[in-house]
Symmetry: C2
Subunit: 333 residues, 2 copies
């Protein structure tokens, strides 16, 4: 039986929406045992299905908690959820809590895969024909070229997990020529070409991400974070411009009504909830970060992502892929 | 009489569209004398209006030219256009050629304003209620905290030139808290707060840019370039999703037809041509970079921007603003 822990107190809509999503998932997935990690009052007035277990702790972390504090507050729902993975009580953990705090707990409580310098937040980004994987999307803001290579390797494994065969890799840069960027990008370019050969499509620019030029976009967390968040802002701007102009005119409003299925398609395509949650890839266990503003649908999907991660043994796949690089690196030196 | 040089051989659609835009502008602006800098064959079969002058040179730069090469090829249309500014023959220059090459010519041929470490490419970006200025948008990819302060000062003067009173300033970062980012951003945060006081709104994130949280977004050229280009890609993705789904269904197509004025509004709002051209701010003269894919409308607007720059004496305004900082810095040390 697959076992997943869920942090009931993480997320803007905790605990109500988290509990609701968890219970709905438990009902549909009798082959999963769910460990609900919460504080005493989370469990009042709810009756748990037989495949749910109650784990009561004393503390929980606010959404603006610092990573260092997250590590110190050992009785929190987040810390204890991660500890269940480390102690092999569960196979995976899901939390919608603070990203930095969860990364800290993933890294220091669950631990890293041997050879991984830093786990990466690998995030699916919508493209014209599907999606691409952005690694890193903000977990590690200042990294070395070799860390970028590790992000690429983890991103590729993650892309394969998401169903992409022979993923194409690109490095996020300020131009497509080989000599673009700082020394860091230039050195990363060389490492990526050496490792991925034909699958490495060279440097890509910001406008190539959503166009789906590659399947795995490699970036340090600063660049990845700017790209990901700028996209959110642009989508919001466009939708607001459309909305405010539709209101100004009856004919446009009628047009918008007729176009409703199209707008729904757009909304669905851009909806981050569709992807449910994202892994901290490189952690020695499955840690799924659900979006901070997750509702019950998002939590349901995040749990599904965790379950799939268990089913395909994502952690050991990453471990194998990284081992290969280290071996070839050692033999090369 | 205001005098402007235009590089006829810069841009993807040079020379035809550049010539067309220049002639249209000359016709509407009899108070401007236009120096058309081109190669011999550009002037065949065109008759120049009385306020146009022909400047024939021997060389021109390809769009993928390296900055170092741009400086070496002294007989190119771009180099010679910039030289006309340096020699005070004209008051401003417009080119749609390669960005790096033009920056190099602006910096080394026209020269920098005293005290300016690096000129910045300051670009207007659409927001909910208007636009904001992004400085730097890709001219300088690796800079020091003090250079970011200079970008901010130049961005503020540019925002004022564009009609924004009391511009609010923000630093592009990976989170809003003061301690976010690398040491560079943390130090820049301190310098910006010291200089701008209440007008400095602290760190902003990628999604805040298009929402218009601030009027001047300060960033190094790497971050600025990623943000600007990612926006382009996102807008393109959304428009493509809408288009492809509209085609699938007659009712949606009818809806789209009724919504045409709304889509036109959107297009206008996102159209980079509207802003025409952008200054390399910090150069000791007015150098306007038009978009590489400028058509005649874009060139017309870029020339208009150059003319406005002359009218408000943008260069001396920047010079004054920078002098202030240096004075306060010197007295502080």
């Amino acid at each position: 039986m697959k076992k997943i822990a869920i942090d009931l107190m993480g997320g803007d809509f905790a605990p109500a929406k988290i509990v609701a999503g968890a219970l709905a998932f438990a009902k549909d997935n009798p082959d999963v045992e769910l460990y609900l990690v919460g504080i005493e009052k989370n469990f009042k007035e709810i009756s748990l299905p037989s495949n749910c277990r109650k784990v009561v702790v004393e503390d929980y972390l606010p959404m603006d908690v610092k990573p260092t504090e997250a590590i110190r507050r050992k009785n929190s729902t987040m810390y204890q959820s991660c500890k269940l993975v480390r102690d092999n009580v569960v196979d995976a953990v899901v939390s919608a809590g603070n990203t930095g705090a969860l990364l800290a707990c993933a890294t220091f409580v669950v631990g890293r895969i041997k050879g991984i310098e830093r786990p990466t937040l690998a995030v699916p980004i919508p493209t014209k024909d599907g999606f691409c994987i952005l690694a890193d999307a903000g977990a590690n803001i200042d990294v070395k070229p070799f860390t970028l290579l590790q992000f690429a390797i983890m991103g590729v494994e993650y892309a394969k997990f998401m169903g992409i065969k022979n993923p194409k890799v690109g490095l996020l840069n300020v131009g497509t020529e080989e000599n673009k960027g700082t020394k860091k990008e230039q050195e990363a370019f060389r490492l990526l070409r050496e490792k991925f050969g034909e699958s490495f499509k060279g440097n890509i620019e910001g406008n190539d991400i959503n166009m789906g030029k590659v399947d795995v976009v490699v970036a340090d967390g600063f660049h990845g974070n700017i790209a990901m968040k700028t996209m959110e802002g642009s989508a919001k701007l466009i939708i607001e411009i459309l909305k405010s102009n539709i209101k100004k005119n009856v004919i446009s409003a009628l047009g918008a009504l007729l176009m409703k299925p199209v707008f729904n398609k757009l909304k669905e395509k851009l909806d981050p909830r569709k992807y449910g949650g994202t892994f901290f890839v490189g952690v020695n266990g499955i840690v799924v970060k659900a979006h901070g503003n997750s509702d019950e649908v998002a939590i349901y999907h995040a749990l599904k992502v965790a379950k799939q991660g268990i089913e395909i043994s994502l952690t050991s796949k990453i471990e194998e892929a990284i081992k290969d690089v280290w071996n070839s690196r050692d033999s090369g030196n």
